[in-house]
């Protein structure tokens, strides 16, 4: 696991210069990047407590994970977040490793999906 994935961190390539940029950076680091995106337009959200969609069928049903342009870049959460949800709630089993028998450790490195989703990787049977 790379260091940057172990804990929340500031930006590495951009430097926040004015106060507004620092606020945006704080949003990103306080909540993890996924939350920051989920909160909508940067800098505009009043919300400080992360909201967490529970139950993918309500919010992120597979098949729905496209943004208004038909792509995935504008989604409030990355598509990998859906993948993980499928795995946990288990109603779309074909697309994720079989965690009951063959890959029980598939999400071992993913303690908090919103933060650690990058660690959910491919499996090679």
């Amino acid at each position: 696991m790379k260091d940057r994935e172990k804990e929340n961190h500031g930006m590495r390539h951009l430097r926040a210069i004015n106060r507004k940029a620092r606020r945006i950076e704080q949003l990103m680091t306080a909540n993890g990047d996924v939350y920051a995106m989920y909160q909508g337009p940067v800098g505009g959200g009043q919300q400080t407590t992360p909201r967490y969609p529970m139950g993918c069928s309500l919010v992120f049903s597979p098949g729905w994970e496209v943004d208004s342009a038909g792509g995935t870049a504008g989604l409030c959460q990355p598509v990998e977040r859906d993948l993980y949800d499928c795995y946990v709630t288990c109603f779309w089993p074909a697309q994720v490793p079989d965690h009951l028998n063959n890959y029980p450790d598939w999400t071992k490195k993913c303690g908090a999906a919103a933060k650690d989703w990058r660690n959910i990787d491919l499996v090679f049977p």
């Binding site: 790379k2 390539h13 507004k20 943004d67 342009a69 792509g71 995935t72 870049a73 990058r118």
Partner: protein, 493 residues
């Protein structure tokens, strides 16, 4: 790059969001619209932005072309950061103009009382008396005490939950009605105490009528003073004359010196009107600060229609920008050492950049700020008092909310289509409504005659800000304090 991320970035197109890229002291920055955030770029993020400069592109393809120069993790992280701060975005999110929404309960924070519309000077460029005036000849020339007191009540009531309010005295020549100013300050202080609020006072004057008694009063009551003055004698006396044509410089100089010497409770500022004939910014600045002793000097181009002799044309704005830039360099030099140069045009812009202001309105007129005429009529701001077309009610009968909403809607950025492609729109918002009225006959018109100047000056301010932020970031703590104290930012002219 993890395969998942690669896939995510490969299924759609992204493009540059609106931004102004600039360099300062050899470093690269981006001013991002609409958040008004300023970020410094490194090589990776700079290169990624370049990769998107020709329009929407598949991000994976952009990263691929850069993969020979940077390692993949850096590229992915850089792209991710740019995406998160809003520098790169999905095409449908690339342009954002906030829609107009009716402001129902904007509390009033500043009320400007035109305590008289009479003046003892006859400045040739004055918008109140010259050929550009909007005001109809008014029956009431001096505000009486009861109107002023009712205005205080109006401010306290409409101030809502705000703990700190500002009452500004204006004219005409404000001190022609000093009697009412004094009575009103005393009344307002008492009423503020009773209402558990604080009221700050400020006043604009041409300084001709300052006396020791008045100076004592201003000091004792912490009244912020702005002096309208155009600089050394030959500039001051060119336009700022008595009705017989005599200049006012010799009259005001000893009075201003006495004010500066004795009024120590609030900084005293000078406010200079620039015209095509009076444009020697640096000479004026040095005279007013070093030779006379003003703490702060602000410059404003004259408000006028395009065809007056003193109107500033394109070359005038270029000259103004050149000189402002030179003063800006001095400002930077001092700020890097932790010192302050009283160049308020720069300070005001830096304050806005520091905060990351994004405005849909050019100023608070008709929202947090209103003007009151001597008779008690309410106007959008002090510049519109006694203009029949811009009357918004009366202090005794209240605000005509319907009319106020109409003004708000007309002046909202959403309705200034010309501004929608401008990178500085979040700070300028089309500029002064009064100037637009004078120039174009429409308060909702963007002030297109100085767009290049505004953009040029804002870029200089961005560069100055970034350079100070790198060299001496603690300099900006004063701006946090200034904002926290709720220093009045309107009605200086």
């Amino acid at each position: 790059m993890s395969d998942g991320l690669k896939w995510r970035f490969s299924v759609t197109e992204l493009q540059l969001a609106e931004m102004k890229r600039f360099t300062a002291d050899g470093k690269e920055y981006a001013f991002l619209i609409p958040s008004s955030s300023v970020v410094g770029l490194d090589e990776v993020t700079g290169a990624i932005l370049e990769g998107f400069k020709d329009g929407p592109r598949n991000p994976a393809a952009v990263l691929e072309t850069l993969s020979g120069h940077f390692n993949h993790d850096d590229l992915v992280d850089g792209l991710s950061e740019l995406h998160q701060v809003g520098a790169i975005t999905a095409p449908e999110h690339a342009v954002t103009i906030p829609p107009y929404r009716q402001q129902k309960d904007a509390p009033l924070s500043t009320l400007v009382l035109n305590v008289t519309n009479k003046c003892n000077l006859s400045c040739k460029y004055c918008y109140e008396y010259g050929e550009d005036k909007l005001a109809a000849p008014a029956a009431t020339r001096f505000m009486d005490e009861s109107t002023a007191f009712e205005s205080v009540e109006f401010l306290l009531k409409r101030g809502g939950h705000l703990p700190r309010l500002t009452l500004t005295f204006f004219g005409g020549e404000t001190l022609l009605n000093f009697k009412v100013v004094r009575a009103t300050v005393e009344y307002a202080r008492r009423r503020a105490r009773e209402s558990d609020k604080k009221i700050d006072f400020s006043l604009t004057t041409n300084a001709t009528l300052l006396t020791d008694e008045i100076i004592g009063f201003l000091t004792e009551n912490h009244v912020g003073v702005t002096i309208s003055i155009d600089g050394p004698k030959e500039f001051q006396d060119r336009f700022r004359t008595y009705s017989n044509g005599a200049g006012s410089y010799d009259q005001i100089l000893p009075r201003i010196k006495s004010l500066l010497k004795n009024h120590r409770t609030r900084p005293v500022g000078a406010r200079v009107t620039l015209t095509s004939q009076v444009m020697d910014v640096i000479r004026i600045f040095d005279h007013l600060t070093d030779e006379i002793g003003f703490y702060e000097v602000g410059f404003a181009p004259v408000t006028t229609s395009a065809n007056t002799l003193y109107s500033i044309g394109t070359s005038g704005f270029d000259s103004m920008l050149e000189q402002f830039t030179k003063l800006g360099a001095r400002y930077l030099e001092k700020a890097a050492r932790g010192e302050y140069l009283g160049f308020s045009n720069m300070s005001d812009s830096l304050q806005e950049i520091h905060t990351g202001v994004t405005k849909s309105y050019a100023c608070g007129a008709g929202l947090g700020l209103l003007g009151v005429s001597p008779s008690g009529d309410i106007a959008l701001c002090h510049r519109f008092v006694d203009s029949a077309d811009h009357k918004l009610g009366n202090i005794r009968t209240g605000v005509d909310e319907q009319k106020r909403h109409e003004f708000n809607e007309r002046t909202h950025l959403a309705n200034k289509v010309e501004c929608h492609t401008c990178w500085v729109r979040g700070m300028c918002s089309g500029g002064c409504y009064h100037e637009a009225q004078v120039r174009y006959g429409d308060i909702g018109h963007a002030n297109l005659h100085y767009c290049d100047w505004i953009r040029g000056w804002t870029e200089v301010c961005l560069q100055t800000y970034a350079e100070i932020a790198e060299k001496n970031p603690s300099f900006f703590e004063r701006f946090d304090e200034r904002q926290g104290k709720g220093e009045p930012r309107y009605a200086s002219s």
